[in-house]
Amino acid sequence: MSAILQVQNLVKNYGDFKAVKGVSFDIEEGEIFSLLGPNGAGKTTTISMLSTLYTPTSGDAIIGGHSITKDPMGVRGIIGIVPQDLALYEDLTARENLIFWGQMYNLSGKSLTTRVDEVLEQIGLTDKAKDRVKTYSGGMKRRVNIGVGLLHKPRLLFMDEPTVGIDPQSRRAILDTVKDLNKQGMTLLYTTHYMEEAEELSNRVGIFDHGEMIAIGTQKELTQQVGEAETLILHVGENDDSEALAKTLKDIQGVQQATAVDHEVSVVCAEAEEVLAAVVTKANDRGIKIRSIDIREPNLEAVFLHLTGRALRD
């Protein structure tokens, strides 16, 4: 396999603020590569540079043999993008939007209409194709946006957090579409802050934080970094102080990390059974009632926790 994308020391500053600090990685033709990182990590900025929207402050990337800085036009012919924020003409119908973008990519005549029909089918909006986009739900709009990205059959498709803020059903549909596209031979760069999505979709994952790629590899390679660690997920009551609990749990011997998000406390440890009793006792001491406990095998969440000391979803 050969690399369709080679990122070389890419940097982007907004004024004095360093949003992306010298990132390098490759994506192989035919894979789904996920950029996993919390909000503000620099994922969108990276995608904006790779898709030739923003000029990098320094560094370069080669996409299908074309440099994003020296030959952006060459790059634009190969890529497609599904942006994080919806980008549609709301007063046009889904069909009109797709036709429009097809025309922007020089499709015309029969090949355009058949392609639009194909894409409508693929995103499951054939029935609603004649309604104006502004009457759509968030999930449907998102699917139109995905359709726009696919229309010209790009070799490399960028998808920037396409499942944020939409209903579970649309989300499922989108994830299935992504896998489908990949089966048909499309290479995808998918960004997300949902660990589950990165795990389900990707061949390889790059973990992104504060403008840097802090780890990269297959899920297996990454989880091996945390060793055999397991994660305990404690669900506590709504009024319980999960933050304080997480702090005390860190003192337990065998616990490597403990963080709280909402009413969940994640505890990373070598062996769940060994610390379980101590964890429950600590919680009882604080008067916190544990509603349920899950034990998870090493996962990307744990990797992120291990590398940064923070939970992915703050």
């Binding site: 929207l53 634009r76 993008i81 942006p83 003409y89 046009l92 025309q103 990519y105 020089n106 104006r132």
Partner: protein, 522 residues
């Protein structure tokens, strides 16, 4: 011809999208209104005591002038914003990742602007035919005489206006309210430039609105019959002074004239390529001035006060007693004042201070006629941000969902606007008081009442700063500057019209309230 295909469809989608928006109906409505005003004789073309017979040539030319003047002047504001719309929807950002080049994109926008303008022109043209039949002086339709002024006079100007809109949207410092004001004055300065400059006067066909060309052509026709004709030429409120009729059969379109008119199209092409040099292709870092401004004022990440409800969010949580209410109203007011007054460059304040001092040291009469009007146009971009800032900063949800926004924020915004207006007039207030000019003082107060009211009503209902900028410039230009007493809210000539402007302001405030209620409901 792949590029032509892409341009055509880019323009088409943009045009379709605009045509389906509510604001397009409003635009068409205005065009119909203009046509109607002409039909009932409220607007007419007169050459002093003379007017043409209502034949095809005459109604075509008259309506062409109305089109170039009104649609050329105000249509600019209606079509400007198509690039900004792409930026806001994010469509532009995706477009930037396709092989579409900068010039092609801008040409597409240019065509779409042109199509929108011509749609309004077409409405007026239809109106002209109706007028010819209504008048019944000559019901024979001469298609060439009727259409030729639209083709040779109106069309090239619309091409130019469409290109100017694209240019203004591409050049960073012309994108906002400043550009709106520049265009306003640029447009009206063309006429006197061509009419009064002796060397330019010889080439009336180059004068963009066609007033020069038609004036000279019609003048020839009148002089042939009535040698005593003195050269008067006016388009405006039908005083029906014209009693003598002459027959005019249209412009003699020589190749020179046609070439001169079409030179506007060549100029437009230049403007578009010039625009392409400035256009940032939706990458803020590509144009220097923009990125500087982003840092100083519009950075999306910088936590700044964008709405007063953020500044005073805590008091909303508890039920308010009277004292707390007054206290927080005061807080809101302070926040609104800060919002209004900050964000200008240092030299803005220096000039403002200069104007205030000039008010203080000039004689009362001069203050009324010259200095105060200047003091009341300098802060126009401050006022025009009133009432629509919430929408611009995308914190609508936040502001509108907090408690009592209606009871608290709108009056505070208005009051802040009123205080700022008084502040910039402080020199004049002192001057009038020292001179015992109570009439001037009263007119000033009514004006200070009127400005924030108009700003708020326009801002709330239109959601942009444009509407106020255009309306206010127009009122300012016609009233205080051109002595139209009905609109003289300053008292530049005579004693102003407090008896009208104070009640009218109250109506405007009510309208603003209604607009805000509507926003909150939906």
């Amino acid at each position: 011809m792949k590029s032509a295909y892409v341009i055509y469809h880019l323009a088409r989608a943009d045009f379709l999208e605009r045509v389906r928006r509510y604001s397009f109906l409003v635009m068409l409505g205005l065009a119909v209104f203009l046509g109607y005003q002409t039909a009932i004789g409220n607007m007419a073309l007169e050459l002093g005591l003379y007017r043409g017979e209502f034949n095809s040539a005459w109604v075509g030319a008259m309506m062409s002038l109305i089109a170039t003047f009104f649609i050329g002047w105000f249509g600019f504001y209606l079509v400007k914003g198509s690039v900004a719309h792409d930026r806001e929807t994010g469509v532009g950002q995706i477009m930037a990742t396709t092989p579409l080049t900068r010039p092609l994109y801008l040409i597409g926008k240019w065509l779409s602007n042109f199509a929108v303008l011509m749609t309004m022109v077409a409405v007026l043209a239809l109106g002209a035919i109706v007028i010819q039949f209504l008048q019944g002086e000559n019901t024979q339709i001469n298609l060439f005489a009727f259409l030729s002024p639209f083709v040779f006079i109106v069309m090239p100007l619309m091409v130019l206006v469409a290109a100017a809109a694209v240019l203004f949207e591409s050049v960073p410092f012309l994108q906002g309210g400043f550009g709106n004001i520049v265009y306003f004055f640029a447009f009206i300065s063309f006429l006197p430039l061509f009419m009064e400059n002796p060397s330019l006067k010889q080439y009336p066909a180059f004068e963009p609105t066609g007033l020069g060309l038609l004036g000279s052509e019609m003048g020839k026709a009148v002089t042939a019959i009535y040698p005593e004709y003195n050269g008067d030429f006016s388009l405006g409120g039908g005083v029906a002074a014209a009693t003598r009729v002459f027959i005019w059969n249209g412009v003699h379109w020589s190749p020179e004239i046609i070439l001169a008119r079409f030179s506007l199209i060549a100029l437009s092409i230049l403007l578009i390529f010039f625009a392409a040099l400035f256009f940032d292709r939706f990458d803020p870092s590509r144009s220097k001035p923009r990125s500087v401004r982003m840092k100083s004022s519009a950075s999306p990440s910088a936590p700044e006060i964008v709405s007063t409800s953020q500044a005073v969010s805590t008091p909303h949580l508890t039920p308010l007693n009277k004292a707390a209410n007054r206290f927080s109203f005061f807080n809101v007011l302070i926040a609104e004042l800060k919002l209004l007054l900050k964000g200008q460059r240092w030299w803005w304040y220096v000039v403002m201070a200069g104007i205030i001092i000039a008010c203080l040291v000039s004689p009362s009469a001069a203050v009324r006629e010259f200095v105060l009007p200047i003091a009341w146009v300098w802060p126009i971009l401050l006022w025009s941000a009133m009432g629509n800032r919430e929408i611009h900063n995308n914190v609508q949800q936040l502001t509108f969902s907090s408690a009592f926004p209606l009871l608290r924020q709108l009056p505070a915004q208005w009051l802040a606007g009123f205080i700022v207006t008084l502040l910039v007039s402080i020199g004049a207030i002192i001057r009038f008081t020292l001179d015992g000019d109570t009439a001037g003082l009263l007119a000033l107060l009514s004006g200070a009442f009127f400005i924030p009211s108009l700003a708020l009503a326009c801002g709330v209902w239109s959601g942009t700063s444009k509407l106020f900028e255009i309306l206010y410039m127009l009122i300012w230009y016609l009233g205080p500057l051109n002595k139209l007493t009905a609109l003289d809210y300053i008292g530049s000539h005579g004693n102003g019209r407090p008896e009208f402007f104070i009640p009218f302001s109250i109506v405007l405030i009510v309208i603003a309230f209604m607009g805000r209620v509507r926003q909150i409901r939906t």
